[in-house]
Symmetry: C2
Subunit: 228 residues, 2 copies
């Protein structure tokens, strides 16, 4: 599987989950094969981009036939490592941590939340739809004994690095950071970040940008009308 | 403010919220000015990248002085449109929608959740820390009357496009989509997407990639040892 995974750019990796989502939709509709051109009109990347992306992993397409939807789905799933199960813990059982604990969508995809951790005595011992909130003091033992793969950080900015250090020390292979700050992890730990505030700020920028352009257009139109 | 905003690349825009976060930290520490070199060692971009990014907006830096932390903070905030207040509604008051409704972090930054909407009669009428869940049937009226700027989509995949259409029709200027699917919006509406599943799948990929490299290194080391 794959020719030379070491050189695949992050941009390609980021597109793979999206390919996979569209393949799931195609499978649901009973579509068995698809050309890069058909795939292009669906997903919005150019056909040549699609061929180039998938070539990174050895191709899969057959000349004159296109891609097997199920075959490609399985290959991309394997490349992403989605043919396995992952055991996760959440650190920080506030609103966001609780929402992620209860978000069953991940569980269906093989990502199981085993427990949540907090330092707040009012939260410790509580149950979130079957997921217990445990004392953060015991997290290292728990991660080791339960062979946890992923730690999800939902604490506030100031505690995020300390939690990341502890999770890395305890042996997680990946950290999913929701805290609104940048953290550092050892090279043997993978890091993926969801910066909700940054995303909201980008949205604000684009809203204002659209409005500025509209104002400029209106002004231009008025000037044209005056000239007539 | 700004020279020619029309041409600024999305990559630069995406970095601005991050610059702003670091400037907030510097302000907290009482730092008043910073050179692009110092900023570089802090944020991890090269000094030339920083100068190039900030030049997009007209510079702000003074030769031999560096950047004024507070000045730069204010300028970036204004560029991002964070000197205003935004009124938001959440559509879909399930776990994720509820978490976002309760996430006070956004409110502090000028993004106010005014109401949540759902079709589930068991949820309608409930109160989420002061935010009422209303009947989705009335969303167009509400958005118009309450002058809502942003609609946050937290419904499932199958209903996301319909919700986006309704929000756009009602007059929101921006949509923040959390539904695990791609949606289309009119050109006068800004769209920002948070694909949690895609992010988790990227994490899985990177975890497996690190592991593959470790296995390859171990094998290499074993072969070296055999040769000795």
């Amino acid at each position: 599987m794959g020719k030379n995974n070491a050189k695949i750019s992050n941009a390609v990796i980021k597109r793979l989950p999206r390919y996979r989502r569209y393949l799931i939709e195609l499978k649901k509709k009973g579509v068995e094969k698809i050309s890069s051109k058909e795939f292009s009109s669906l997903i919005g990347y150019t056909a040549s981009q699609i061929r180039q992306d998938l070539n990174n992993f050895g191709g899969f397409g057959q000349q004159g036939y296109g891609y097997s939807v199920d075959g490609l789905y399985k290959e991309i799933s394997a490349i992403l490592g989605l043919d396995k199960e992952y055991r996760m813990v959440i650190v920080g059982a506030g609103n966001l941590g609780q929402a992620i604990a209860k978000y069953t969508h991940f569980h269906k995809q093989g990502f199981k939340v085993c427990a949540a951790f907090d330092i707040n005595p009012n939260l410790i011992g509580k149950d979130l739809d079957g997921i217990e909130i445990l004392d953060y003091e015991n997290i290292v033992e728990y991660v080791e004994e339960e062979e946890i793969d992923i730690g999800i950080i939902c604490v506030n900015r100031d505690n995020a690095q300390e939690v990341a250090d502890k999770l890395s020390f305890a042996g997680v292979k990946g950290i999913w950071n929701f805290a609104p700050t940048d953290i550092e992890v050892p090279t043997h730990v993978a890091l993926e970040v969801v910066h909700l505030s940054d995303s909201l700020h980008s949205l604000a920028y684009h809203m204002n940008d659209i409005q500025k352009k509209e104002v400029a257009q209106d002004k231009h139109r008025e000037e044209e009308n005056l000239r007539d």
